[in-house]
Symmetry: C2
């Protein structure tokens, strides 16, 4: 697993309200086709996503997600990379929340949590290839 975070996702109840908050602080939003409101951070994205949909995507009940829910996203160059990382999680002491599977939009992903419940998505997105820069692969964004 390379040392990068492609995506920080905030689980949000009122998308317009939270988007307006970050806009009021001076950030510029990008609305994406898949319902994410994204803020581009140079090779990384801060995304807002409805809390109930996020819980559904992870495959856990929304009651298991607390105040100020955030997840971290790791984008892999290919599907094998997703499989390899999730395969290592149990022996490393974490928990696979969602084994890797194809997603309706054409990607491939799974979720894990570290031993204290910080949640990660591991994904391969064929429509958003990683590009090499600064000696490391970084995500090209939405």
């Amino acid at each position: 697993m390379d040392q990068r975070i492609s995506l920080i996702t905030l689980g949000v109840r009122d998308m317009d309200n939270i988007a307006a908050f970050y806009e009021a602080l001076g950030w510029q939003r990008v609305d994406t086709q898949d319902g994410v409101i994204a803020f581009d951070l140079l090779g990384q994205t801060l995304g807002l996503y409805p809390l109930d949909k996020l819980a559904e995507d992870i495959g856990i009940d929304v009651s298991q997600l607390g105040r100020g829910t955030m997840t971290l996203g790791y984008n892999s160059r290919d599907r094998d990379g997703v499989d390899a990382i999730l395969a290592r999680v149990p022996e490393a002491g974490g928990t696979v929340l969602k084994p890797p599977l194809e997603v309706f939009w054409g990607g491939y992903h799974g979720y894990f949590s570290d031993p204290e419940g910080h949640i990660w998505e591991v994904a391969h997105n064929p429509f958003s290839p990683l590009r090499e820069s600064d000696g490391a692969f970084r995500w090209a964004g939405y």
Copy 2:
């Protein structure tokens, strides 16, 4: 407020256990003088910090922080930048959790939450100046 996140902090109960988890996935830790275990992410840092100390630093009770606690960090070029951002938070709809003040290690910081409880630290660290690269100021790291 520029569009960047300098730091992602995981609030952690068992630092050695969580550090070992990320090392088992292939990441390399850096131990810092201030008790943070850091993973360098090219202009950004994922830091592990004891949950009770994080709550103390924010100025809230640890019971207010949930499972998988994470905070986002924004580093400012100077103290005025910290003041300016925290001054904008209330009118933007957020809550200042900790007004800006001098920290024992020589920095200057405050905390706010967005309208749904995602927590941010806004800090000026005179010992870790931002450097300009890729058209935006990024943190030089620990």
